[in-house]
Assembly symmetry: C2
């Protein structure tokens, strides 16, 4: 199945000149969504994944079925003010201003090997922050997995300290 055929190009979003890759047609097509989840899971099936983590919100759409199928803990990485218990925090720079991710202090066991998941690898800023947060919380990054990768934005360079896997790649 050509998963890329379920990705829709939307011009000028979120601002003029940007060609946005819209994953909602893939979500709307059960065989394509199923195949995406299966390919991601199969790639890591024999790896020592201790838990699956994802930053909100779209990352949850892929991480949750993967955690379900791999039978591993599902760890949400969230924006400030969302997690009720005590957290580790990691602040990072975005194109405009600062952002922060948080994780509960008891979510990640010491040296646990974490598979981080998101839908799209663009510049890699959010995923890089997620990796650093996992490490701050005492875990290890096993790999970063994506449905699709915008190669020309060089997210892999930003994530060069980590293993990166994606199902669809635009160069």
């Amino acid at each position: 199945m050509d998963l890329a055929s379920f990705i829709r190009d939307v011009p000028d979003f979120p601002k003029p000149g940007i060609l946005f890759k819209d994953i909602t047609p893939l979500l709307a097509h059960p065989p394509a969504f199923r195949e995406s989840i299966h390919r991601l899971v199969e790639h890591f099936r024999d790896r020592p994944v201790d838990a699956v983590a994802a930053a909100e919100a779209r990352g949850f759409l892929f991480a949750a079925p993967m955690a379900y199928l791999l039978e591993r803990p599902l760890i949400p990485l969230r924006k400030p003010g969302k997690l009720p218990y005590r957290t580790f925090n990691f602040a990072y720079e975005l194109e405009y201003g600062q952002a922060e991710l948080q994780v509960h202090i008891d979510s990640i066991k010491p040296h646990a090997r974490i598979l981080l998941v998101d839908d799209v690898l663009a510049t890699g800023g959010t995923m890089h922050a997620g990796c650093r947060l996992v490490e701050k919380a005492g875990g290890q990054v096993l790999a970063c997995a994506f449905l699709l990768e915008l190669g020309f934005l060089k997210g892999r360079e930003r994530l060069r300290d980590y293993e990166v896997f994606s199902l669809i790649r635009y160069d």
Copy 2:
């Protein structure tokens, strides 16, 4: 399995006097997460579910594995500025100020029967907005499904026009 034993009470979140029901221990326990998903899916297995929808972000954690297992389209209901294509919008009142949910105009087929999913039914404000948005987009609400329900907040009254199902109930 007593799913309620995987819900953690966090006092004074998000503000003093509120006892927050934290679902992250359930997400962190694969058999409990699996059982939650299975019970939700089994309840609707023989019903005419045409698609599964959820508002970001925590709703995605349950809706995505449910859509996967039911082999139905997964429809994200999102906050403004997140969906790249043309949208239907529904604005609603929160305790402090206004909020809005959006859905792509091509996500919901005419008269499609939609199962809406979220983690927690509190006052029902967001779910009610999700139901109205589904209707505005031309769909029908089959039911609203939750992991847990805070009965004392009377969300069922807010959702009285719809079928409501929850796995865990606090009165």
